[in-house]
Symmetry: C2
Subunit: 232 residues, 2 copies
């Protein structure tokens, strides 16, 4: 598997045509996409193009909390200025995904309204442009309940099966694998982060040879239902 | 970045010299390791060699619960036969890491006693053998609180800094990144899983060009302290 970072040297603003911008950046790197390739794109890029930004002085906690409430359906935990909220998508994350990094001062980005839909738009464009079955993952860095640090996960995807289901398959010892459902889309996002970095202007990555199944799954399917959730 | 799966065609048993077995498998693939390469190894392989296995009929829930209790310091949540436990390492995971897949019938693997130490042994051997600074990550698939499916994470590491700390650095807009601490070791583990698969006998992966910093960090550092944990 190879993971290649693709830089973008233009500033993205509301209304920009993200699919064609991504395609152009990939072509400028002389990367021809082919069946099974997955293109990872940061939430930041998508949110800016979709106008999902707000003015906020991130040091004004009261204003920040107001915005978090607007962007969430529920505050899951709060400890001082640390706020873990549930978004309308069902994501549980710090600050409801509001993020002040890699955006101009005094402005924050919000999560895309429907990241799966955003992914599909990009996926259709790239698949047509390259005449191939391309997968797309829209990524964001989320914290975890019991572990330090953030990892990139998939908040949107298209053209792939976000989960690899090993349940029912049999290992070489004849054991049926009963509980192995891998969140492949999240692993693709994490692999992409390693080449994207955080302050570097590399909001796109092309992943080749991951073996991910093409399909019609959504990242929304990776959200655990409330009824199955022991920690919400 | 490239991620290459390395198959192992021998059956690992207690007492096997894992560092030399891994080195041999890598050399048989004609992969010369060089500075900055990271070798990911599954928990399963390490646990088997270290004799961290137990006899258990995984369908006997009462016996399984007893073993989970022995392997954990605390049951964090329980819902029917689903048991989320905290291990002596501080990991919060299903069944305290007890796993019946890819092991002979009637036997389960337990987590290594000290996965960072296991990683260091492998790291020292490979670094000497290849006269290079090699990183090692020992991986296991863990579930997450609010998301469906499991992802590979690092339960042990050596030769690398498991976290990439962007705090205090300034993005291109002059914003200081205040809360960006990436769990790089976990992302390396997730990238490795994409080539390891689950039923395939590929318990080793070589990751090149990840840009991870060499260092002396431990995967133990990725365990969130109880005092900072809002969900334990």
């Amino acid at each position: 598997m190879t993971v290649l970072g693709v830089a973008l040297d233009t500033e993205v603003v509301q209304g920009d045509d993200i699919p064609s911008l991504i395609d152009k950046a990939i072509r400028e790197k002389n990367l021809g996409l082919s069946d099974g390739d997955v293109v990872a794109v940061t939430q930041k890029l998508v949110s800016k193009a979709e106008g999902r930004t707000a003015e906020l002085d991130q040091h004004d906690f009261k204003a920040k909390l107001e915005l978090i409430k607007e962007e969430s359906t529920r505050i899951v935990r709060r400890k001082g200025e640390l706020v873990i909220a549930e978004t309308p998508h069902g994501f549980v994350c710090a600050n409801a995904g509001i993020d002040a990094s890699n955006v101009e001062r005094g402005v924050v980005t919000l999560l895309p309204k429907d990241p799966d839909r955003s992914a599909r738009r990009i996926q259709r464009y790239l698949s047509r442009s390259h005449d191939a079955d391309i997968g797309v993952v829209i990524t964001d860095t989320f914290g975890r309940a019991w572990r330090v640090g953030q990892v990139n996960i998939a908040i949107g995807c298209a053209g792939i099966e976000p989960m690899t289901d090993h349940r029912g398959t049999v290992d070489r010892y004849g054991n049926e694998l009963v509980a192995t459902l891998i969140a492949t889309a999240d692993e693709l996002a994490s692999a992409a982060e390693l080449v994207m970095g955080k302050t570097k202007m590399t909001p796109i990555a092309v992943i080749r040879g991951s073996g991910v199944k093409t399909g019609r799954g959504k990242a929304q399917d990776l959200v655990r239902h409330h009824r199955d959730d022991l920690f919400r």
